[in-house]
């Protein structure tokens, strides 16, 4: 009797958790839908607030993509590109993300430097996919050399598969290295960002950097970061003028 009561309590508790969870999911869905409707009605600021509040609880490529669209329609190019880049990290193969990002860059004349063959190769897959590919290659390599799966599999065949695995590993490591090199990149979100010659507010400006430009931070000093943009230009930028893609 006591046992049956105990089970009942556990089941009740589990049920409450499930119920609360489903309420939470439903509430998030409702907020997501509300933000989407706001976007469709042209209330972009409202849509941004809705998607941003959801993003505080968790991230997904769809959420970041919708947020980026909202920012783009609201004229906040920097924030839009930042969120497209974040969405692309979660879903590197999503054509909508890539397409909107390209369109926005074109509209805002944020033309990128032409990519080399190696850069294009690195961008074939995202960081996670390169990691998975490297791991798979490593497992295959180890399996081929250490575990003769079937006696019928000849040594030559196993060695060929192992060599192919090594090639896959090498390519993946190159991909990972290339992707990781830009993992800590940032996007200019300030509308009138100025590059300075030294990390002080009183320092002379060496030029301005367009909102939405990608940049690579080099080092930090107080509230300023030495950055390098896509064209190789460098200077000190106020930390409030840019945001990191990864966070």
């Amino acid at each position: 009797m006591i046992h049956s009561k105990g089970y009942w309590q556990i089941f009740s508790l589990f049920g409450i958790f499930l119920l609360l969870g489903s309420f939470s999911v439903q509430a998030a869905d409702n907020r997501f839908k509300k933000a989407t409707i706001a976007y469709n009605d042209g209330e972009y600021q409202l849509a941004i607030e809705g998607f941003e509040s959801l993003a505080r609880d968790g991230l997904s490529s769809a959420l970041l993509y919708n947020l980026a669209n909202s920012y783009a329609q609201n004229g906040q190019t920097g924030m839009a590109i930042l969120n497209y880049e974040r969405a692309a990290r979660l879903a590197p193969g999503d054509s909508d993300i890539r397409g909107n990002l390209e369109l926005l860059r074109k509209e805002r004349t944020l033309f990128q430097e032409e990519q080399t063959v190696s850069q294009r190769f690195i961008r074939l897959l995202g960081l996670d996919l390169w990691t998975i590919l490297a791991t798979a290659g490593f497992i295959l390599f180890a399996t081929c050399l250490l575990f003769p799966v079937t006696p019928r599999l000849k040594t030559t065949t196993r060695r060929l598969v192992a060599a192919a695995s090594v090639l896959v590993i090498m390519a993946s490591v190159m991909g990972i290295a290339g992707q990781y090199h830009h993992y800590h990149d940032a996007v200019v979100v300030g509308g009138d960002a100025k590059l300075r010659l030294s990390p002080f507010a009183s320092a002379a400006a060496s030029g301005s950097i367009q909102e939405g430009r990608l940049l690579t931070p080099v080092k930090v000093h107080n509230n300023y970061t030495l950055i390098k943009d896509e064209s190789g230009r460098s200077g000190w930028l106020d930390n409030d003028e840019f945001m990191f893609i990864a966070y």
Binding site: N40, G42, D57, S60, N69, L90, L127, I139, A142, F147
Partner: protein, 616 residues
């Protein structure tokens, strides 16, 4: 097969029959001079031909006032209409030290058939022609010679001909650049003509120039022509020139460059003879044009239209729009063609006079060249979307430019293009797609009340309906804990597998280890049997198992057949007081005489046997 061989013999015979008469052909020698008269500063070609032979030796000629420069010898074999003939030709350049009448005496030629002589040759050497004025001031390197031009008698010169010497800033001035090489000069171009001087930029030149021939004075020249354009970028008067790097192939022993065509003999103008008889050296030269004064004028500020984008020249504007029957929200493609002569790189898209009621998009542009450097047309295509339903025309567009001929700004304004706006039923136009119905593979068509929503970027792909799986943060896979644990487990598994594989490989390649393992396994097996016999107090079984154990262990140790080991072997190879011999002996006696052991003896034997066999 036989027929084929016979045919080959027949051919060989025929060939010999035709060759043999030629071997006895008459040997004759001729000598001829390319010209009967030549200036003292030039040379003539002396050709000595020996017919009927394929080799010959000519005695070097010695004539007062003349120098003979051998230029080589060539042999020739002909087979015409069944007649075979051979000849050998020697070429000399004849140079005179002074004017006057000269005679080349008969030339003696030694051949296999003996000696033959030519007829004497009479000729005149006249006064020297005007000396070419090659300004070969060294450019400093000592290797490259600078050839400044202007003189038609030079070996090579560069001529720059702009259409005008005064232009406005940004105006395109067509220019013709011509490099002249006197006939007979072989030259390789090492660079394209390069502009020297400030204030102007030169449009990129085509790699392949136009080739022609031209007479300058009395000399014939090969001419390479580039047509390009100069564009003034800095106001003021500038001194310009052009330079070009070339390598000239010059005759080794000439005092100055001489054209091969001076001999007047087209036969020897053949490139074969030039390369065969010629002895050349390469000379790096820098050919420069005469200096050119060019003025860049500033554009007037007065009368400059707001739409002026820097276009200078003479232009026309054509505008057309399609379709002309539209509804509100429909796009119209406006094609604007600016054609004429001028700096098309500064020609920007014509501006709409009125934008009200229209939404315009960024135009595309394409420049179509019309043969000349500054002539062509630039076509702009711009999409316009009607935002209102009461529009009646596509607005006029304006394009302004500066006319350098008149020195004034001009503005071209197109006429508005009438359009037919068609009414669209509200029901068709603004029926929103229900959100639930519009869901298609996670995407939502953003069509709700389009007339009210002003999108900054209408081309964006629609929102996604499903938020998808949420992550806490944007961390890469390798930074996630579960992935790190997975990788660690994977590495451990691989290390374990590697350890086992290495151990197996070691065991497979080590017979001692294999034997030790076998001995251990067999011993364990026999120990179990002995234990069973011991418990059953089966003396005979105990002794049989003990003997088998001894044989197996020693067999593996001595690498012999276990069953073949006897007491004699043990006594021979083991110490005399070995327990193994005692047990083996007891086992033999039991087998032959039926002698049995008591329990105490069996226990002692079992303990000793285990100890001895383990220590083997």
């Amino acid at each position: 097969m036989k027929n084929k061989k016979s045919f080959q013999y027949l051919l060989a015979l025929l060939f010999l029959l035709t060759i043999i008469p030629s071997l006895h052909a008459e040997v004759t020698a001729t000598a001829s001079l390319s010209v009967k008269s030549f200036p003292v500063d030039r040379m003539a070609k002396l050709i000595v031909t020996l017919q009927g032979q394929r080799s010959a030796t000519i005695d070097m000629l010695v004539v007062d006032g003349l120098r003979f420069h051998p230029r080589g010898q060539s042999a020739r074999m002909d087979y015409v209409n069944g007649a075979y003939s051979s000849s050998v030709t020697s070429l000399f350049h004849v140079e005179a030290s002074h004017e006057g009448s000269f005679t080349i005496p008969p030339i003696t030629i030694k051949s296999k058939e003996g000696m033959v002589t030519t007829l004497p040759i009479h000729f005149e050497v006249v006064k020297a022609t005007a000396q070419p004025t090659v300004q070969s001031s060294s450019s400093g390197s000592g290797v490259t010679t600078r050839l400044r031009t202007g003189d038609a008698a030079e070996v090579a010169f560069l001529r720059v001909t702009p259409t005008k010497t005064s232009s406005y800033s940004g105006e395109v001035v067509p220019v013709q650049i011509q490099i002249y090489f006197r006939d007979g000069i072989q030259a390789n171009l090492n660079s394209l003509p390069q502009l020297r001087g400030e204030g102007f930029v030169l449009q990129q030149l085509r790699r392949e120039p136009h080739r022609s021939r031209e007479m300058v004075g009395n000399s014939s020249y090969s001419v390479l022509t580039w047509v390009s354009a100069l564009s003034g970028i800095k106001e003021g008067t500038h001194t310009l020139s052009m330079e070009l790097d070339a390598t000239l192939l010059l005759r080794q022993q000439q005092r100055v460059q001489r054209p091969r065509g001076m001999f007047g003999d087209p036969f020897f103008d053949d490139s074969f003879f030039n390369s065969f008889f010629g002895s050349y050296r390469e000379k790096e030269v820098k050919v420069a044009s005469p200096k050119l004064e060019m003025t860049v004028l500033s554009l007037p500020e007065t009368g400059k239209p707001d739409t002026f984008s820097g276009a200078i020249g003479d232009f026309r504007l054509q505008v057309k729009a399609i379709p002309l029957e539209i509804s509100k929200g429909d796009p119209v493609t406006l094609t604007m063609t600016v054609s004429g002569v001028g700096n098309f790189d500064r020609v920007q898209v014509p501006q709409l006079q009125k934008q009200k009621g229209w939404k315009s998009y960024s135009p595309s542009s394409e420049f179509l060249k019309d043969g000349n450097v500054n002539r062509g047309k630039k076509v702009f295509e711009q999409a316009l979307v009607a935002k209102e339903s009461n529009l009646t025309e596509v607005p006029a567009v304006a394009f302004s430019y500066f006319d350098p001929e008149s020195g004034t700004y001009k503005e071209l304004v197109s006429a508005p293009i009438p359009i037919d706006m068609q009414e669209v039923e509200v029901a068709e136009q603004s029926v929103p797609v229900p959100r639930q119905a519009a869901i298609s593979s996670g995407k939502e068509a953003v069509q709700t009340a389009p007339e009210k929503v002003e999108q900054l970027l209408p081309g964006l792909a629609p929102l996604q309906l499903d938020a998808g799986q949420m992550n806490k943060q944007l961390e890469p896979l390798f930074a996630k804990k579960w992935f790190q644990v997975f990788c660690a487990v994977l590495l451990l598994a691989i290390c374990g597998a590697l350890f086992i594989t290495i151990r197996k490989a070691r065991f497979a390649g080590n017979p001692q280890l294999q034997r030790q393992k076998s001995m251990k396994q067999l011993l364990e097996k026999r120990e179990r049997e002995i234990e069973e016999h011991l418990q059953a107090a089966d003396s005979r079984g105990f002794l049989v198992s003990s003997r088998t154990a001894i044989q197996e262990q020693l067999g593996l140790l001595w690498n012999t057949e276990a069953a073949a080991i006897t007491l004699a072997d043990l006594q021979k190879r083991l110490p005399q007081d070995s327990v193994l011999c005692t047990i083996f002996n007891a086992a033999d006696e039991s087998a032959y005489s039926g002698q049995e052991l008591d329990e105490q003896q069996m226990l002692e034997f079992a303990t000793s046997l285990k100890k001895e066999l383990t220590n083997l």
